[in-house]
């Protein structure tokens, strides 16, 4: 029964949102940071139809609703990555954690556990976050499972794509050797490659009596990676590990993204040449381990200047909203403003093949209107749209603040 109920709710919600999104919206008089080669468009109009950007600066503005941006800055919604949004409510309360499982393997689909009602989601909207690539933490396997894409609407249909990338972790180990992790990575792909080749051969020679063994679930995932159907994200820091990953990409022709990449500056040329994008924490500057002795606040700028596509990540799920401050600090440490914007929008979208992250015709209408410079601490989100629909930035925190600032004589418990 539970399953049936759920799907009925989903159908009902889907039909409501379709009806709502059918309206057309025009955001006029905006300073549009496109995150495209168009750069900044002054006094621009963005047309939205059915949740998608349908036109920019059309000849005539004809829409069900017109929103005057009064010259304020409109950016694509920011896109988070590498956190556990919707998979954890309170870190220390095990029953609210669904990102990890000892038995999780490459097939682990954490999207099944996603909770769109998590209080972290509304809070994250305060940072102008409209989408997120949620990463599982996995288990003992070096393959932690598969990530998924969500929007931050907080609705039951907010999982946009499940199993959109595979996540693996290599590097320093408390027990054992990093060598084995790297070997395992290579071996797994090689084994599947062989199995696929063998099956092909057998198919060609119909004479074979025994039909070839079908690929197992985990092997199918590896096959999808070999075909380039989805990216492989590997977390690694030390320069030697990064070089090993470059070899992995070249050997198997993978769509590879490296996350962490503390030592990347030491091998920046090789990473750029291999065309591997990086997901980095722009605020990382301490040698947290012997794998990360060469990272500084200038790293982001240096990697971008080396021609590497960089995305910024905020790994602390509850503070995902801070992503815009990370981008601001990156600017303070040498990253050009447009590059910093791309690092939290377009570049993440490109890495994960999302139809979002830019203000351009045909892109999802995930948009944020800011009171001023989006990266500045004194700035706030004035208005936020996800797929063309407006969402509030109000969260549980606001309710608590209002309760305790209320000067009524009633006990706080009665103030709602």
């Amino acid at each position: 029964m539970k399953y049936i109920k759920y799907s009925l709710v989903a159908v009902a919600l889907a039909s409501v949102s379709t009806w709502l999104e059918a309206k057309t919206l025009a955001i006029t008089n905006a300073t549009v940071y496109t995150a495209t080669e168009q750069g900044v468009l002054e006094n621009a109009t963005v047309m939205i139809d059915d949740g998608t950007i349908s036109a920019i600066n059309p000849e005539t503005v004809n829409a069900d609703e017109i929103f005057d941006a009064q010259g304020k800055i409109l950016t694509p919604g920011f896109i988070g990555a590498m956190n556990q949004l919707g998979l954890v409510e309170v870190n220390a309360v095990a029953a609210t954690r669904d990102a990890a499982d000892k038995k999780a393997k490459i097939t682990f689909d954490a999207s099944l556990a996603f909770n769109p009602l998590s209080s972290v989601i509304a809070y994250s909207r305060k940072g102008g976050i409209t989408r997120d690539i949620v990463m599982p933490r996995g288990g003992e396997s070096i393959f932690k499972g598969q990530s998924f894409v969500v929007d931050l609407s907080g609705t039951f249909d907010s999982v946009l794509e499940a199993n959109n990338a595979v996540f693996a972790v290599i590097g320093a180990k408390h027990k054992g050797s990093r060598a084995l992790s790297i070997q395992t990575l290579f071996n797994r792909f090689e084994d599947v490659e062989k199995k696929i080749a063998k099956a092909k051969k057998a198919k060609a020679k119909k004479a074979d009596k025994k039909p070839p063994a079908e690929l197992k679930r985990d092997e199918k995932v590896l096959q999808a990676l070999l075909k380039g159907e989805k990216p492989l994200v590997v977390a690694a820091d030390r320069a030697t590990d990064l070089l090993a990953l470059i070899k992995l990409k070249e050997r198997f022709n993978l769509k590879l993204i490296i996350a962490g990449a503390a030592d990347a500056e030491l091998v920046a040329k090789a990473i750029a040449a291999a065309d591997i994008p990086l997901l980095i924490d722009a605020m990382r500057d301490l040698p947290g381990s012997f794998d990360s002795l060469h990272v500084s606040l200038n790293t982001a700028a240096n990697l971008i200047n080396a021609g590497i596509k960089v995305g910024f990540i905020q790994r602390d799920t509850h503070n995902l909203y801070q992503l815009r401050f990370d981008a601001g600090n990156a600017v303070a440490n040498g990253v050009a403003k447009d590059k910093a914007l791309a690092a939290v929008t377009a570049n993440i979208a490109d890495m994960f093949n999302l139809n979002a992250g830019r203000i351009a015709t045909g892109q999802a209408a995930d948009l944020v209107l800011w009171s001023a410079d989006p990266f500045e601490i004194s700035t706030k989100v004035e208005k936020l749209w996800i797929k063309g629909k407006a969402y509030s930035t109000r969260s549980r925190q606001d309710a608590l603040r209002e309760r305790y600032m209320d000067k009524s004589t009633l006990p706080a418990g009665y103030i709602k």
Partner: protein, 465 residues
């Protein structure tokens, strides 16, 4: 054996009586050394310095535009307009902002250093619920590269605390953020010690999971009360010894106990409480606990729910040291509001502080304070930059018992000064020059003034000639 007891008592009594005789010489008086690991920090001869035409946030709630800051012999001499002095190094402060040195009341630099390897994980003696006997300074690794990155963020003074696994975690130590090969070389001269206490989830989890008390919050409270009750007895025994000795009696000193030495220091007002405590109801009980045993409950750290009891904290003279936005990692951190510090600050005689508890955010306490300032402005608080700077300077100094020494640009105080390239509450702000006691310890544009930890020296040597 029991039947011999009375006669033993008689012997003891007669001995005691003999002890009273004036004719008997007193043995040497036993005294507890209060500062056996003293600071060796010495101010280097400092240059007379005059910063001209800057925007100055004094730390006392004032903002002065186009103002000059003069420091001589390591002390603030004057803040005002059109100051002149002979033989001063003059710094053009046009477009710059000047603040007191930034103070972090909650850091684990040096005791949980980078790299975070087990060999250096010395911040929490989590072997018993009461480890008041341990001192964080005895764990300190002065080569933690985090001291350097914090200095680049304007941190001039910081308190290093033990962790929060225990009801009583041990003594904290306040440091000047100077480069030194010894702990003593950084130790803030004459700063009072802190005693770390912890409420709530951590102690009950750490010991409860080992089937050792405390396993509940009421177990926590019982643990504090038992410890204070013993400490009161210990103090009484020493007070009696002191009084008797002063009266010329030849008395035996009580047996020395390091745990109770620390607690006695609190009861005597010499050691300040720094209490990791998140929840409103727990802070309220810790205040009552302090009244039960007659000490001051000090500063509440993290204090996620301080906004719920802002008036109580102010009335009782407690500081609250808070994050702007950390939350959700534990149940006791679930009720965070970003305006917490602003609500605490709004009460009369309050003491709101922004702290880091992090090697990352200690580098940007200015931005941490900015988050509170601007969210509070959006929620209707009448707060400005000159108010918010107190949360990371003057109020922090008060919490550490250093109000007479640092925390504001007031004549006679240490010349702990930061020159910022712009409004320090901007995400784009950088500390450009940092001074401790008038000595430049950091310059963003001059490598000569950028210290580097031994640990990072000579790494990544490719061997190429």
């Amino acid at each position: 054996m029991q039947k011999y007891a009375p006669s033993l008592v008689m012997v003891a009594l007669s001995l005691a009586l003999t002890g009273c005789l004036k004719t008997e010489a007193q043995s040497e008086k036993v005294t507890i050394k209060k500062n056996p690991y003293p600071s060796t920090y010495q101010t280097v001869q400092s240059q007379t310095t005059l910063i001209k035409n800057a925007t100055v946030l004094t730390g006392t709630g004032e903002r002065l535009n186009n103002a000059d800051v003069l420091f001589i012999d390591g002390k603030i001499k004057q803040v005002g307009q059109n100051l002149t002095v002979d033989n001063a190094a003059v710094i053009d402060g046009k477009g710059k902002w000047v603040t007191p040195g930034i103070i972090d009341v909650h850091s684990h630099l040096g005791v949980y250093p980078s790299p975070s390897v087990e060999s250096h994980s010395d911040g929490n003696e989590a072997t018993a619920p009461n480890t008041s006997r341990v001192w964080a300074e005895h764990s300190l690794w002065p080569q933690d590269p985090g001291f350097e990155t914090a200095r680049a963020g304007g941190i001039t003074t910081l308190q290093i605390l033990p962790g929060s696994a225990n009801l009583f975690g041990g003594r904290g130590v306040t440091l000047k953020n100077v480069s030194s090969t010894t702990m003593q070389g950084m130790k803030y001269p004459d700063a009072p010690y802190g005693l770390k206490m912890a409420c709530g989830e951590n102690p009950k989890r750490v010991y409860g999971s080992k089937d050792v008390a405390p396993a509940t919050r009421m177990g926590n409270m019982a643990g504090y009360r038992e410890a204070w009750a013993k400490a009161v007895e210990y103090k009484r025994a020493w007070d009696k010894y002191e009084a008797d000795y002063a009266a010329g009696k030849n008395v035996e000193a009580p047996e020395r106990d390091l745990t109770n030495d620390t607690l006695k220091g609190v009861l005597e007002g010499e050691i300040l409480i720094h209490n990791h405590c998140y929840k409103a109801e727990e802070m309220a009980m810790m205040i009552d606990l302090s009244k039960e045993f007659n000490y001051h409950a000090g500063t509440f750290h993290h204090a996620i729910e301080a906004y719920k009891i802002a008036d109580l904290l102010a009335e009782n003279g407690n500081c609250a040291a808070m994050w702007p936005d950390w939350w959700g990692f534990k149940m006791e951190a679930y009720d965070m509001v970003q305006e917490n510090a602003a609500i605490v600050d709004a009460a009369k005689n309050s003491c709101a502080i922004i702290h880091s508890d992090s090697s990352k955010t200690i580098q940007r306490l200015n931005q941490e304070a900015a988050k509170v300032l601007y969210r509070a402005q959006e929620s209707g608080f009448d707060l400005k930059e000159e108010d918010a700077i107190r949360w990371i300077t003057a109020n922090a100094a008060k919490s550490l018992g250093l109000s007479d020494k640092t925390g504001s640009l007031t004549t006679g105080k240490s010349a702990d000064v930061v020159i910022w390239n712009r409004n320090p509450f901007s995400v784009y702000a950088h500390a450009e020059q940092v001074f401790i006691d008038g000595v430049k310890v950091y310059d963003r544009f001059d490598e000569k003034y950028q210290a580097k930890s031994d640990f990072l020296l000579g790494q990544a040597n490719s061997g190429k000639e």
